[in-house]
């Protein structure tokens, strides 16, 4: 059961990811990205991270992607037309990526013994209770810092995007 679920949603994630890269119109890429995020949320559930799965959907798919869509709409971005100019990226990019992927896969295989399995329900430490407890005790400082970060980001975004007062 786990395997089937994993395979389905992994395939969806990969296909949507490819779509993000391949589509010409940014709005199509945005929709595909939402698909990726949704599949990832299910995979998180399989790994026992309930809170994060919910957060993924709410924050990422719900807020960040909406922000992206709004900006696309605001800028009236159309489909890409012209060719790019970076020869280096085009030449070296794909081969390097393949090498990278190969290396990562190789390490992944080597580092983790074949007996390590992921079973749904084997890890129950990902509830909101557990996350909250860790966040407010052991990780309090990062939590506070990251809230300041959000504040700064809001201020920055507001300052950058406002109309100039004439």
């Amino acid at each position: 059961m786990d395997v089937i679920l994993f395979l389905i949603f992994a395939v969806i994630a990969v296909v949507c990811g490819i779509n993000v890269v391949v589509q010409t119109h940014p709005i199509s890429s945005a929709i595909s990205l939402i698909g990726v995020m949704g599949s990832l949320a299910v995979l998180y559930l399989l790994l026992g991270a309930e809170f994060l799965a919910a957060a993924q959907v709410i924050v990422y798919a719900g807020a960040v992607m909406v922000l992206f869509v709004f900006v696309i709409m605001l800028l009236n971005a159309g489909a890409e037309t012209r060719r790019g100019r970076s020869l280096l990226a085009q030449l070296l990019g794909i081969p390097l990526l393949l090498v990278f992927l190969g290396l990562m896969a190789y390490f992944a295989q080597r580092l983790f013994p074949a007996t390590a399995m992921v079973r749904f329900g084997a890890f129950r430490g990902g509830t909101a209770l557990d996350v909250g407890e860790a966040l407010f005790t052991r990780f309090l400082l990062p939590f506070e810092v990251v809230s300041v970060l959000i504040l700064i980001a809001i201020l920055g975004a507001v300052v950058l995007a406002r109309k100039e007062l004439d």
């Binding site: 786990d2 395997v3 994993f6 992994a10 994630a13 990969v14 990811g17 993000v20 890269v21 940014p26 890429s29 945005a30 990726v36 990832l40 995979l43 790994l47 026992g48 991270a49 809170f51 994060l52 957060a55 993924q56 990422y60 807020a63 960040v64 922000l67 992206f68 900006v71 800028l75 971005a77 890409e80 012209r82 790019g84 970076s86 990226a89 794909i94 990526l97 990278f100 992927l101 990562m104 992944a108 983790f112 074949a114 390590a116 399995m117 992921v118 079973r119 430490g125 990902g126 557990d130 996350v131 860790a134 966040l135 990062p142 959000i150 980001a153 920055g156 975004a157 950058l160 995007a161």
Partner: protein, 102 residues
């Protein structure tokens, strides 16, 4: 087989990351490049949560949580910057915003 081998999750994470890099390298529209960055971050998130499972600790998930927060903040500010650049350069082509001499 009652479970999924751990390495598959990691390989999936690597694949998503690579797709994100590919998008970053090959696309010209700056918004699409940004979305590729988000894709990369998601891949990394998956990897963190996988390790959290492997170690049977919640720390990886906290990491992932913080990554999400940062990604959101970054998306907000980055898009604001894109707006400003668009206002100044009137282009969304990432190659055209370079003002360095040839």
């Amino acid at each position: 087989m009652t479970g999924v081998p751990l390495s598959w999750y990691l390989i999936l994470s690597a694949v998503l990351f690579s797709l994100g890099v590919a998008g970053f390298l090959l696309r010209r529209n700056v918004i699409t490049v940004f979305m590729s960055i988000e894709l990369m971050l998601n891949g990394v998130n998956l990897s963190f949560i996988t390790f959290s499972y492997q170690l049977r600790q919640v720390n990886g998930q906290i990491f992932s949580f913080l990554v999400m927060v940062v990604a959101a903040a970054e998306a907000a500010v980055g898009l604001a910057i894109i707006l400003t650049v668009f206002k100044n350069r009137a282009t969304l082509n990432i190659d055209d915003v370079s003002s360095m001499k040839d």
